[in-house]
Subunit: 273 residues, 3 copies
């Protein structure tokens, strides 16, 4: 399953339209190229409909949103819906400002999403309409622990059911659910949090995987999440004396570049809850 | 010839004003520093005339254009013309949206350009006023093959003649012509397409080479194109087991950093058509 | 002293709000993560007050300022003042355009700053209200030489006294003063100028160090300046055959990532003037 999903990305080379933040945009583009997809970045209101039309999917990331780009996100999202394209929302920092929370909620209301991906604090904000978020990282109080595990899973499943879309919560463990089936993914290493943009990269990858595997959305999403975590593991094993987070950043994208179906299938660690 | 061109960049350290996209802007800046030039990025309407005045050349790249930056491109372009500065247009994604095509055509009409650099689909769009472009990469149907080689060359030469500027078409082979003389450049490796921004970097480099070699525009452009392709070759040879496109991206800029006149002269592979 | 300052950053993991340029923003974020802090980038007028409220400090960098972001800088700065947060101004290119000079002067007048950090030409511009700046690098004529050393030091001290804040001038040697005490720092290597953004990274780091050491502002600033210069030295020693400025860029951030109190204490080279 995972094997086919990643191989389809390399075969079909899907075009992904990204309206994303200027912090991690270069890594997002290189990650998409690494996994065999092709990135386009365009955020002006005058062209986002046309650009999204020539793509297979749309990645909306509110990391450095502005009044202008929010309008573009909504317009592009509606156009993508019209055309039956895959759409993902990455609600970076939802809960950290009213603008981020409101924008996320508006996108959720106006655009039919295939996937929402965030950390647990961001997802709680969207599900509850409010939450305490500490910046762009998950709040410690929200961290999923053994004692809150079962209740967290049902909370996330309920949100996915309500939204009729796939919800991905990334953290020490990653959760992927369509409200019915739920995957618990254990790939990745904690050092990935010491690099900006691993979440943004994953969101873009998920879109590429969805476009290349249109009829297996849940499996496609799981494949992308496993691939990103596994890339983090492979890259961490390759670290040399003196290397730090900047070299690690490069090595993660390198690991995606070198990942084939067999490596992914062998390295993926997940169970179905 | 090539030797002098690159050595003049290192000697004269030209200042280059870039109005460019936020995807590859960091690599553009580091590439300019690598080849001995100095980058300035500024795109607000209130300051682009002043900033371009203190520079030697202007690099206009429409990769993530917006209503505001388009006005800045036109204003800066006209000021650069007034001062006799070198100006290059990189029409990223021309043909992918009406905004990109129209903006490119307007810049071509309002600003006297020294060089236009793009892939074959972008250049066809500008020459014909319309074309089918698939995003920011060249359309397969536009690829120059052996059977279309001669007609492609004349098409590009005619466009250069009409525009009275140098036209650079990059791809599997690169073509540089002023409408009269035409260079066919065979440096580079296909893996360069797996990194975002090699084209953007080349455009900025060409401006640096033009500013440092004001009276040999065609040779300066050819030198920059050979240098970038050769850097791609050298970097590819240095790739280690486990390396991928992100490390490759660094190694290409590193190869520019270490390139001297002799390395360029020995490694350049071109013929005059 | 230096030891405690860097260790406090790692212990307290301060949140830093950055309104900064899109050229070096990714390196700024990864540098903050490397030293143990947490970055947030947000520049829309609607959210900057809220975002800055959840952070400990604010880093204002005018590298690619625009009409919109200037308003955001002022609003965020005033809010940070209200809350007693640390605020730094990095006046990138002040003197290169009227917009940059005026914006810097307005921020200096409307916002109480804890630190101003720039090259000698930028600082002269702010102190005198005008200067000849060549782009974003220091003007050769402004370079501090042995014969101008004493007069430069008093000039910078006077400016710090007038502004009642810490002034940091970086260059071949770095000067840090609160108008009274003055540190002369000799860490760093000339090759650091061949990378875009080492100054921007340092500015962000200084904010992180201030937030983590609120009662020792001068020592915190000196620690950050020594740490950045030392990282440049360590990274340069690790350079391999074929490496250039792009690999060097990664290695500097890596060196910050691996720097502990002892490494900093042993490697710092400064004297008090």
């Amino acid at each position: 399953m995972l094997k086919d999903c990643i191989e389809n990305v390399r075969k079909k080379a899907p075009l992904v339209h990204n309206i994303t933040n200027y912090v991690t945009v270069n890594d997002v583009a290189n990650n998409l190229l690494a996994c065999g997809a092709s990135p386009i970045m365009a955020d002006d209101l005058s062209e986002v409909e046309e650009i999204t039309s020539i793509c297979g999917g749309l990645n909306i990331n509110i990391g450095t949103l502005s009044k202008n780009t929010v309008s573009s996100m909504l317009l592009a999202g509606k156009k993508a819906n019209e055309l039956g394209h895959k759409v993902l929302l990455d609600p970076v920092g939802a809960g950290a400002s009213e603008m981020r929370t409101k924008t996320s909620l508006q996108i959720m209301s106006d655009v039919k999403l295939n996937v929402i991906r965030g950390n647990i604090s961001e997802i709680k904000t969207l599900a509850l309409g409010s939450a305490k978020t500490q910046g762009v990282d998950a709040n410690d109080l929200d961290t999923i622990t053994q004692s809150t595990f079962e209740s967290s899973i049902s909370f996330i499943k309920d949100f996915a059911k309500k939204m009729t879309c796939i919800v991905v919560v990334t953290g020490a463990i990653d959760i992927v659910t369509d409200g019915d089936k739920c995957y618990i993914i254990k790939n990745g290493v904690p050092e990935m949090t010491k690099i900006t943009g691993t979440g943004c990269q994953l969101s873009a990858m998920i879109v590429a995987f969805l476009v290349a595997n249109p009829k297996n959305e849940l499996e496609a999403t799981v494949s992308a999440v496993c691939a990103m975590g596994l890339a983090g593991e492979i890259a961490w094993k390759n670290m040399q004396n003196g290397d730090g987070n900047s070299t690690y950043r490069n090595r993660i994208i390198d690991a995606i570049y070198n990942m084939d179906g067999k490596i992914l299938e062998d390295g993926a660690r997940y169970e179905i809850a």
